[in-house]
């Protein structure tokens, strides 16, 4: 799992909540979700994809809604 995509609630609903179980990585304090993939599904190809290092930067940024204390 080295590719990450951020989705809003509406985008998750379009994609299918049944997919959340296998790909949920982190929930932001704004309710958006980070989802991790080895291969990004076609349905999400139009979304911005973050690398592991880019996502780590976001998760460690204490101004980010995805800030993960302790990570």
């Amino acid at each position: 799992m080295n590719k990450f995509i951020i989705l809003t609630g509406d985008e998750i609903e379009d994609w299918g909540v049944e997919n959340v179980r296998d790909h949920l990585y982190k929930i932001g304090t704004d309710g958006k979700g980070v989802f991790g993939f080895t291969t990004v599904p076609n349905a999400l190809n139009s979304k911005t994809t973050y690398s592991k290092s880019q996502m780590d930067t976001i998760l460690r940024d204490n101004t980010s809604v995805f800030y993960t204390k302790g990570y």
Binding site: I12, V17, V20, L24, I27, G28, G31, Y71
Partner: protein, 255 residues
């Protein structure tokens, strides 16, 4: 009738059984799990809680289930230690899409790799609200921790009450995913207890007991209680477990 010279032997007082905790259950993160042999529909159709002491093995960095059962993604309840070391609740109920699904994760990573030198007391509470959406809380060492819901997804009370996982049995240390175990937990779990109510903050604090496991065998609404003292007996009810590969460890939580 007693005759002259007979004696009455006074009943001896039964000494209060001293609570001791000498063992936990060790899971290898590969294929070990505990089957509670309990089909959890009734539990998951109302308010409930789970309490356990957890010490993940460092260096695994993968999604791992503390306990759970899943019938596809129509009816599932799993609590996971995520890749980042956060805790997550995933709840699907009654296969009704966005009104029967909720995801809730802690904002901080208590179980980040490289930091697991001691047990953490974890409690998850689930409150089925009448005419409203189900609410959740996650406690870490006696205190509620900040956590976030995914979008506006919630399980409403009607779908919550209709949870039906098709007779699958609740597993600890893995998810019973359609009858096949996956997402195995690696590390130690001790004093696993399930309650038919949402524990209050005060009750959670009392169970945490400043870091020393205490006897909760007489706690209100205690449904199942696995102490792992060299067995997987349900000391509260009748759901004696079946141990699949897990072994007993002398490493136990203490303050």
């Amino acid at each position: 009738m007693l005759g002259l010279g007979s004696s009455i032997i006074a009943p001896s007082f039964v000494e209060g059984v001293t609570f001791t905790n000498t063992k936990s259950l060790s899971f290898d993160g590969t294929n070990d799990y505990l089957d509670t042999n309990y089909t959890a529909n009734t539990l998951f159709q109302g308010s409930f809680s789970a309490s356990m002491w957890v010490k993940p093995t460092d260096g695994q960095g993968a999604n791992q289930v503390l306990f759970g059962v899943e019938l596809g993604t129509s009816d599932a309840f799993v609590v996971t230690k995520g890749t980042l070391g956060t805790l997550a609740i995933l709840h699907y109920s009654n296969n009704s899409g966005v009104s029967s699904f909720a995801a809730y994760t802690t904002d901080a990573a208590r179980f980040a790799d490289g930091t697991q030198s001691a047990f953490t007391h974890v409690v998850v509470t689930v409150t089925k609200n009448a005419s409203g959406d189900t609410s959740y809380a996650i406690y870490d060492d006696g205190s509620a921790v900040a956590a976030s819901y995914l979008g506006s997804f919630r399980v409403d009370d009607t779908n919550h009450a209709a949870f039906d996982h098709g007779g699958l049995e609740l597993n600890v240390g893995a998810s019973n995913d359609d009858g096949t175990q996956d997402t195995f937990f690696g590390g130690l779990i001790d004093e696993a207890a399930f309650f038919t109510k949402a524990l209050t903050a005060g009750e959670v604090s009392a169970i945490y007991n400043s870091g020393d496991p205490t006897d909760i065998s007489s706690h209100a609404n205690l449904l199942m209680y696995y102490r792992f003292e060299d067995d997987v007996t349900d000391t509260a009810g009748t759901s004696n477990g079946t141990k699949n590969g897990a072994s007993f460890s002398s490493t136990v939580p203490s303050s």
